[in-house]
């Protein structure tokens, strides 16, 4: 396959999609738009992206894609776990989320020393809680633990 063909095709496809989206924008009366409709800039940008991407594909026409380093299973697992953790973070609450993440991920990254991992995850969670919640007064999503504490002990 031509070098960078895949990524440039994805970019071109997304750009065409976004270009089509610009047709759904409302037309603004000329007196308000003052020579520059809200679609003008995005369309200009998309046209340039498409032109440059096509130019790059043309430039690479005689170059074959180098075999890229295979994305290891570890990267997919890490990504899925991160996405999962982010999606449930506001349900679990940030404190529990951080603890679970910092406890599980080192094992996904081939660490085997359970006690060190446990101490690390406890330390990291406490550090984040003390620094951001207690000192900087940042309000994180509370989640099930805080809800449980509030409901039963306050």
């Amino acid at each position: 396959m031509i070098k960078d063909f895949k990524i440039l095709s994805v970019i071109i496809s997304l750009t065409i999609f976004l270009f089509i989206v610009t047709f759904s924008f409302d037309e603004v009366p000329e007196i308000l738009a003052q020579g520059m409709q809200p679609t003008m800039m995005p369309r200009l940008i998309f046209t340039l992206i498409i032109l440059l991407s096509v130019f790059q594909i043309y430039k690479n026409k005689n170059l074959l894609d180098k075999k890229k380093e295979i994305i290891k299973k570890n990267a997919y697992v890490t990504f899925c776990f991160m996405a999962f953790i982010i999606l449930i973070a506001d349900k679990l609450g940030f404190v529990l989320t951080i603890f679970i993440f910092t406890f599980v991920t080192p094992f996904l990254w081939q660490r085997k020393d359970k006690l060190n991992v446990f101490l690390y995850s406890i330390g990291m969670t406490v550090f984040i809680f003390v620094l951001f919640t207690l000192i900087l007064q940042l309000k994180f999503p509370q989640g099930i633990i805080e809800d449980f504490i509030v409901r039963n002990f306050y």
Binding site: D4, K6, I7, I11, L18, V21, T22, F25, D26, V28, L32, A33, Q34, G35, M36, Q37, P38, M41, P42, I45, F46, L48, I49, L52, S53, F55, Q56, K59, K68, E69, I71, K72, N74, A75, T78, F79, M82, A83, I86, A89, F94, T97, I98, F101, T102, T105, P106, W109, Q110, R111, V117, Y120, M124, I128, F132, L136, L138, K139, F140, P141
Partner: protein, 491 residues
């Protein structure tokens, strides 16, 4: 002598301790392979909201200086450059360390970094106000032309694909168009997500592109086996050895400052050019790559000089001189400040604070570089299984912290995944960031120019400064292709 009296601005306890702390954090982070000063500033940016704007910006500038130097420590000691600008330092720094002269290499790196940094700061102090005075004459057409020139520089400076850099810059410009269009009030590309009506927040995209994408890169790597160097006795270079390198240091400082001023990835390119020039002019050419002190002095002077150079267009024009200064410009936005000529008139004290913070940072990393390099180098031995989950936690908290919205966290994740795949295909995140930073300026100044010119774009030809920037834009875009074409024909 007004400038000397302004030193008191950084002498109050909070400012001083923040600058010292930021420099040390910068050195530590710079020493970690994969973590850059840009990423560190991106991660810490949401929390600077609790600080006075001058303290926050000064800390970022100090972290930038510390981070640039920090990369050299691990480059010399374990052949793992902490940041791309230090890659050239490893060419001769590591062989020196293998010969048992790690102290000499570290000492030379620290001193040449300071000389480079100080020279570029002097240039910054002289040149930035002059540039700002010129920029007073700029109207929207000139700013539009300048922003376009800034973006076009992405094509000519970076060592990677110029076309890919331009595409990256345009992607950044597109991201900047998301949200309500200021002139007409029409929402664009929000897909009914209320949280992005005011535009996509800069911070989550920044954290995603710099930090999250790096986590995915690291997750795909095997455990790095680092060759550790023993250096029980730290012997610093002699005065004679410094004197032998002084020409190289001065030349590289000039190269670094000049390249830093040009908008793009200054540090890495400066270091490479500084190194190549040092080899070209050296009497000991054949020793380069085998452990030549000049080979350490040149890239270090150049990459640190690029920090001061990059701050010149950043402060005077609001056009970032490097990826990290683009992040610092984001810091200006968060604190309700706008970099550019009016900053010199309205906030002179802020500028003095930044100048002195960078001066102070240079002396702090000189001390820590000479005394604590061995300790700093140990940070690179933190297991990846602990380091990168911690970075993720900061990504999570950092992207959530500013607006306290989960949508920002989702944006950070999307930016991280996109950044990972773009990086795999040779795209750099820096042009995207520059596009986002310049996006507002490009669109607004074009809209204002259209009004000023009564919709006649040919009126740009009546503005000599704008015309000069357009000419420079064409030069930066087409100089290399035309030169290559002419070379091919000669062959």
């Amino acid at each position: 002598m007004e400038i000397l009296s302004k030193i008191t601005l950084i002498l109050d306890l909070t400012t001083f301790s923040m600058i010292v702390g930021a420099t040390i954090v910068g050195v530590l982070i710079g020493a970690l392979p994969g973590l850059s000063s840009g990423m560190a500033i991106a991660l810490l940016l949401p929390f600077t909201i609790y600080l006075e704007p001058s303290v926050a910006i000064a800390s970022m500038a100090a972290l930038y200086c510390g981070g640039t130097f920090g990369g050299s420590i691990t480059a010399i000691l374990i052949n793992a450059p902490g940041a791309p600008p230090a890659a050239a330092t490893a060419f001769d720094g590591f062989p020196l360390a293998q010969k048992g002269q790690a102290g000499k290499a570290l000492g030379m790196a620290a001193v040449s970094s300071v000389v480079g940094g100080i020279i570029s700061l002097i240039v910054l102090m002289i040149f930035a106000p002059t540039l700002a005075r010129i920029a007073y004459k700029f109207g929207p057409p000139e700013y539009f032309a300048l922003a376009i020139f800034g973006l076009s520089m992405l094509a000519s400076i970076s060592a990677k694909s110029p076309v890919k850099n331009l595409i990256g810059g345009l992607i950044g410009l597109f991201i900047a168009t998301i949200g309500v269009h200021l002139t007409t009030g029409i929402t664009r590309f929000t897909f009914n997500v209320g949280e992005i009506f005011n535009g996509i927040s800069f911070i989550p995209v920044l954290i995603g592109l710099f930090a999250m994408s790096e986590i995915f890169v690291q997750a795909s790597k095997s455990e790095l086996l680092l060759e550790r160097i023993k250096f029980s006795a730290v012997k610093l270079p002699t005065i004679a050895e410094f004197k032998g390198c002084i020409k190289t240091i001065l030349r590289s400082s000039g190269i670094g400052t000049f390249i830093g001023i040009l908008p793009a990835e200054g540090g890495t390119v400066s270091a490479m050019i500084g190194y190549n020039e040092a080899r070209r002019w050296s009497k000991n050419k054949e020793n380069f790559g085998k452990g030549e002190l000049e080979g350490v002095a040149a890239p270090e002077a150049a990459n640190n000089a690029a920090t001061g150079g990059a701050m010149i267009p950043t402060l005077a024009l609001g056009i970032p001189g490097s990826a990290t200064t683009a992040v610092i410009l984001g810091g200006f936005q968060i604190h309700g400040l706008r970099a550019g000529p009016y900053l010199f008139e309205q906030q002179p004290d802020l500028l003095y604070t930044i100048f002195y913070a960078m001066f102070l940072a240079n002396f702090i990393f000189l001390i820590f570089g000479l005394l604590g390099a061995k300790i700093f180098s140990r940070i690179s031995l933190i297991p990846r299984g602990f380091l990168w989950p911690s970075v993720f936690v900061f990504c999570l908290v950092g992207s959530y912290g500013l607006s306290q919205s989960m949508v920002d966290v989702y944006i950070m994740l999307i930016a991280g995944v996109a950044g990972f795949f773009l990086r795999r295909s040779g795209f750099s995140p820096a042009p995207i960031i520059m596009g986002i930073v310049l996006g507002g300026l490009v669109e607004n100044s074009l809209a204002q120019s259209i009004i000023i010119f009564d919709q006649n774009l040919f009126m740009f030809f009546t503005r000599p400064i704008a015309l000069t920037f357009f000419a420079l834009t064409l030069l930066s875009l087409f100089y290399k292709p035309i030169k290559n074409l002419l070379t091919e024909r000669k062959i």
